[in-house]
Symmetry: C2
Subunit: 397 residues, 2 copies
DNA sequence: TTACTTAGTCCCGAGAACGAACTAAAGGGG
DNA sequence: CCCCTTTAGTTCGTTCTCGGGACTAAGTAA
């Protein structure tokens, strides 16, 4: 009924080799040193992986002395996944190579009132030509998501949606994740920071937290919904409550504040243009937001203690103007020394981050990085899964 | 240099067996079914564990039909660890059986101005008679701790202390952890909730968060320091900043508020007694705190999304009086449906929780539950360690 | 050309698990 | 009372993987 157990260990070692090669090309000898496996074992496993088309041999290395080794690397395009962002403004669909390269991307907007069914049908239509091939399709929503169900997405106006029936139409594996959490993955999976917070700031505010290389999800998938932390404000939030942080820090408030200063900007894009042209009121409004964000980051730091904060969402475009007041304010409000100069930078993948994160769900799965995307527990679990509680280092030392 | 690799797999399977037995007695046949291992393999590993004195055979089971099996269980006392809490008021030292039983506990107070050196010397003196034997000594501090260094403990008045030289005197392995985080472990390790937040509320306020069976630590060990989330208040906090949540929700504020209502209570103990006697002002002050806490828990829920909140610290003693207003207020302020009836209860281990948590650090290590206490990554990592991110299942229950 | 160093392959022995065959110990039916 | 069925647990032969030593390959330095 069960495969010979020794094959399990082979799988683990294959995984180890792929994990190391994800960071760059290596020779068999390098792999032997890094994994601790005997040269012979590495040779055998690498042969297998070459045969399967997962690896490719590349150029030779020139060590100071001795025979050169052949570099091995992940074969480009050997595996890839699709990712989609169902955002407030529009939809993004892209294909992501297993090495983190965006192979292609499409974007389209949609009538504001379009419901989930319509939007998924359109997505299905765009996805179909690319099947089979991808490992899966991971998509993201700006809302609280747990086990393929959407509990609440205030800024889309959707709530309590079981998406499983709709997902069943897709002719490939699907996964669903919150946009901020997925975006955080996009940074972690390919840039390897183990502790970070990804701030998605547009109309709404959400945070994706990764701690010790694991995504913080919570029991209902609501961890990091700091936009709905109740502050002292009196504004009505899209979620129906009063005083959510999002009403103070969301970009709606920025536009509002700019108007209250006497500024005239129809929308955020206009405001951004004014700022780029050095218009004083626009700069002042943005500076004010930056200060508030700095204080918020000090709070974020005591809540999650990241080593890096990434700014995404529409706010990323304002980042050049936000940066200075934000850093000053963070420095002034930080609880720990260590937080005073907390690195803050905009997202690497830019506005593609959520979709890239969606796709990385499947790449993480392929690489069996359970911390990034653990499968739900199986009922009659495999053997090791029972007790592999993550990275355990030897008892020694 | 490295042990034969097949032994690694044996270790994993031994671990699997112990992990299952942690939840209760099982027969060899049960273990075979649960782990997926062949009966023969289980037999061999169990024999080995019996020989080492880790397991014991117990009574027979009587299945509906067929030969009865012999139940196996962890031998009581076969492994244990020491835990200590260095609190604001005093010190607790205890021994914890590997099955979660407190074998003995000692407590003592100390002159308020005693420094870390003095307090550790006293602790060493109390620990010495019990060495050798324990797996290690884990102790906790009400402050931000990372890698055996204390960054900041406002309520002790300590900061930037490298405790490694002091720890070197202890003739057994030591570990250091924040009190709220350790307390969270005490609940998770033996009662198996995978997503919980442990609220330590006394003078200070701290939260220990466990998500998917992993302790949230952050880059500097400061995750969960919500007591130092900047709110709108104007009170000076012990950390030197103004407006920390702790100044509003800490029990100091409770006493303060009671006085402002006209109440007369010298200290918290007196206030508690008054409440127990039904004194109106005391009850009103506590009710007021309960409401504020309910709102706070709604925020805690969006930050970490736990499935359970445990209340510890001095506030646990006030819990009967806090409970009703707290639940009402939480229900009124919750962001998600799922949070409206978030279970809230006092700690199982009561005031011993931090010390029990400290000891569990070593028990978790023994059971190789890396999520609870992962060692720092090694530079030249072991083989599996590098990449086993596997999905880890529930701990206890 | 030779000595040395590093890369990579080949092959055999060791250790672990699997699974089938077997023994052990209960209950139920005739 | 005996035999059949069922479940528990052991024994033993087979299979799989790794480790490690012997070996070949391919460079540099003298």
């Amino acid at each position: 009924m069960r495969k010979g157990d020794t094959q399990e260990i082979r799988r683990l070692n294959r995984r180890a080799i792929l994990a190391h090669l994800r960071r760059g090309p290596l020779t068999r000898a390098d792999l032997s040193r890094l994994t601790g496996l005997a040269k012979s074992a590495v040779s055998r496993l690498v042969d297998e992986l070459l045969q399967e088309g997962l690896l490719e041999e590349g150029t030779l290395t020139s060590p100071p002395v001795g025979r050169p080794g052949t570099l091995l690397h992940l074969r480009p395009g050997a595996r890839f996944a699709l990712g989609a962002e169902l955002g407030v403004e529009g939809t993004v669909l892209l294909a992501l190579d297993w090495r983190g390269e965006v192979l292609w991307a499409k974007e389209w907007s949609h009538p504001r009132e379009a419901g989930p069914k319509k939007r998924l049908e359109r997505l299905l239509h765009e996805v179909l030509p690319h099947v089979p091939g991808p490992l899966g399709l991971g998509f993201t929503l700006p809302g609280v998501v747990v086990e393929d169900r959407l509990l609440l997405a205030p800024n889309l106006g959707w709530r309590n949606l079981d998406l499983r029936p709709l997902l069943a139409d897709f002719p490939l594996p699907t996964a669903l994740e919150n946009d901020a959490k997925a975006s955080a993955l996009s940074e972690v999976f390919f840039h390897g920071e183990a502790n970070l917070a990804y701030l998605v700031l547009s109309t709404g505010l959400g945070v994706g937290v990764v701690s010790e290389s694991r995504l913080l999800r919570g029991a209902s998938g609501a961890a990091g919904e700091l936009g709905h932390w109740l502050s002292q404000g009196h504004q009505l939030c899209a979620c129906g409550r009063v005083g959510c942080l999002e009403t103070e820090l969301g970009l709606g408030a920025l536009l509002e504040h700019h108007r209250s200063l006497g500024g005239k900007a129809g929308d955020l894009e206009a405001l951004l243009q004014q700022a780029k042209q050095g218009e004083a009121l626009a700069l002042e409004a943005i500076r004010h937001l930056g200060e508030a964000l700095g204080r918020f980051l000090a709070n974020l730091a005591v809540a999650y203690d990241p080593a890096l904060v990434v700014v995404g969402g529409k706010a990323a475009e304002f980042f050049p103007f936000l940066e200075t007041p934000l850093r000053q304010s963070l420095r002034a409000h930080a609880f720990l020394e260590a937080h005073r100069d907390l690195p803050v930078r905009p997202s690497v993948y830019g506005h593609l981050a959520p979709a890239v994160g969606g796709a990385s769900l499947f790449l993480a799965r392929f690489f069996e990085l359970g911390g990034l995307w653990a499968e739900r527990p199986r009922r009659n679990g495999g053997r090791y899964e029972e007790v592999v509680f993550g990275d355990r280092r030897g008892l020694g030392a």
